[in-house]
Amino acid sequence: MTDEPRRTDHAHDDPTPPDVPVDLSAAVEAEQLPEDAFEEAVDGGPVAPVTDDAVIAAPTDDDLDGGISPERLVDYLDAGRQPYDPEIEESPEAVAQLAALERLRTMGARLLEVDAADAPAPDPSWISGVMDRVRLESRAGRPIPLASIDERSTLHITEGAVRSLIREAGDGVDGAMVISCTIHGDVSVPGALVRVEVVISGLFGEPLPTLAEGVREAVVSSLSRQTELVLESVDVIVDDVHLQSEGGAA
């Protein structure tokens, strides 16, 4: 049996799969029957050569490089038992151990949910403390000039404030929710043409072009009242669709 680099896909919501570089020093080379090696591992011997100072004595003198180490089982489990490995799947002990690992994983996930739900509700002052600190680091972005009252005074509205205007305007359209917005152009030059791009999510069932037009109009109206930006265009892109009560799922 040859070893090939295994890509382990961790079974989590996180779409960024963790890299699991194959540690070839722990690679299994089948020199003995898989079942024998597995039994040794199940008996509690070390499953991988450990190079730090925690040395664990092997239960037998046998070469533990054979067969199915628990680590290999876990990697197999992480990969969703794909591709099908007959050596593992046809070994009753391996399958049993896989089942135990799977039970552990499931239980672990459930435990996390319980602990998360049990976590005491945050102190209101804790949250407001965090939000106060957050507000200190507000994303002002580029300062956007407003016509001033004299030569030396300067009046601006921040790009951050304008983005929040766009969000509010878009959100205010029934069925629409702003996902992101961008102001393209040199906003520091008064009178320069700028192009606003708004990405929204639309309520399922709503006619999307109508929604997009509603958002466009709301944004144009808001920006014309609150800024002096000269708008070349306001482009609204419907990038997503949402249901009425999604429950906030990720």
Partner: protein, 184 residues
């Protein structure tokens, strides 16, 4: 009528928060605060430390949200920041990984007698088994199983090697499966 942010998907909240929407950030934070706290508690074995770590993580999350390339992955991304801050705290408390810290195990908030005794449900049995693990094994297990971090990331976090991490994980899993199967 304004759209309800509390119903919005993580990706939308993360996008908006990255662009400066403080309300969206607060909704996102509240949504995952329990999870983040539970994770930090399992890593630090101290509710107080966990709260501190999560607070620092929250500010860092706000700061670094503009760098997140896939907003949909924000939850896992936030958890990684939590573990970063938890380990900053652990290091500053001078807990070293190569010490099997039994005192630490008994200091966990979940290791109260009532819970330990009442292992008549599998959950309690697992919680107790986790609490009995040496701190380093428990941390590595949590980083992998809860945080979904890669071996490389875990090695960086704990200041060890990938091989050592695999070893710790194997031992932790072995102990836990043995205790859970025994409980069955």
């Amino acid at each position: 009528m304004s759209a309800d942010l509390t119903e919005a998907a993580d990706a939308v909240l993360a996008s908006r928060a990255a662009e400066g929407d403080e309300r969206a950030f607060e909704v996102l934070l509240r949504r995952h605060l329990g999870l983040m706290t539970a994770y930090a508690t399992r890593l630090t074995s101290s509710r107080a430390d966990a709260t501190d770590a999560v607070q620092e993580a929250s500010i860092t999350i706000w700061r670094e949200l503009p760098t997140l390339e896939t907003p949909a992955a924000v939850r896992g991304w936030m958890m990684r920041i939590v573990s970063r801050k938890a380990f900053d705290l652990i290091r500053s408390r001078r807990l070293t990984d190569d010490v099997d810290d039994l005192e630490l195990a008994s200091a966990t908030p979940t290791a109260d007698p009532e819970r330990l005794a009442a292992s008549n449900d599998a959950m309690g049995a697992l919680r107790a088994a986790l609490d009995r693990l040496p701190a380093s094994q428990r941390q590595v297990w949590a980083l992998r199983e809860v945080g979904g971090e890669s071996y490389t990331e875990i090695a960086e976090r704990t200041g060890t090697t990938v091989t050592a991490v695999r070893g710790q994980l194997a031992r932790a899993r072995e102990t836990l499966t043995r205790e859970m199967e025994a409980w069955r």
